[in-house]
Amino acid sequence: MSLQRAFAISATGLTAQRTRMETVASNLANARTTRTPEGGPYRRQAPVFAAEPLSVSFDDTLGRVLRSVQVQRIAQDDSEPLLRYEPGHPDADAAGFVAYPNIDPVKEMVDMLSATRSYEANVTVVRSVKDMGQHALQIIA
């Protein structure tokens, strides 16, 4: 049944947007983290989305062009950390500067809103397709 495929695709969209939301949460939570296991301040994370073909049978014309979305990897933003002069801080360097993560809360908020909207768009598809399936079931009712 072809409706199942729409569900499967939208599910990947939901997962991808949720991952994006989680990276935003991580970035905001660590906006002032100066210590990480890798050393140095926390680095901003961003998911990289890739359109992936579905696994389909060979003669399926439509199936070969449909794309699910996958989080290919979580990229690290290697922009320079923000230096603030705080001589009293335990992580201050010899000159008294502390390296803070280069995180812009406004940018993260915008990203969060965008992820929410995209998530909702995928939920709408799931709802509509579910409604279509229910109507199909009513044929025999």
Binding site: A16, V65, V125, M132
Partner: protein, 132 residues
Amino acid sequence: MTRPVDDAVIRQLQESLGRLSMRASVVASNLANVDTPGYRAQRVRFAEELGKVGGLEMSRTERGHLAPKTSGPTRATVYEAAASRVRQDGNTVDVDQEMTALAAVQGRYNAATQIVRKRLALMRYAVTDGKG
């Protein structure tokens, strides 16, 4: 193929339901990739939509009247949607257009199932001698 209920209208609607669910999958694919850099929005086109009506014969009273072609297997062509705008990352998915397309597909799907239902109800009425 003989089916228990071999009705031209129901057969047409069956095909129609199949095509509409394909359309829904394309919308799902576009919306899932709304934030994928470089993704081009897809559309699907069906050969049958160009006036091919199988199993439903039109009466021809003139020699010049064209006969409808008989229906073959549904041929779906997928093409890139004309981009109303291209984002900086090369993505061409327009959420408004996709939502409208989805609403249209949903409405048509529900209408088609409704007609199948009514058609079957008519048959039930007939086979039960007006008591169904």
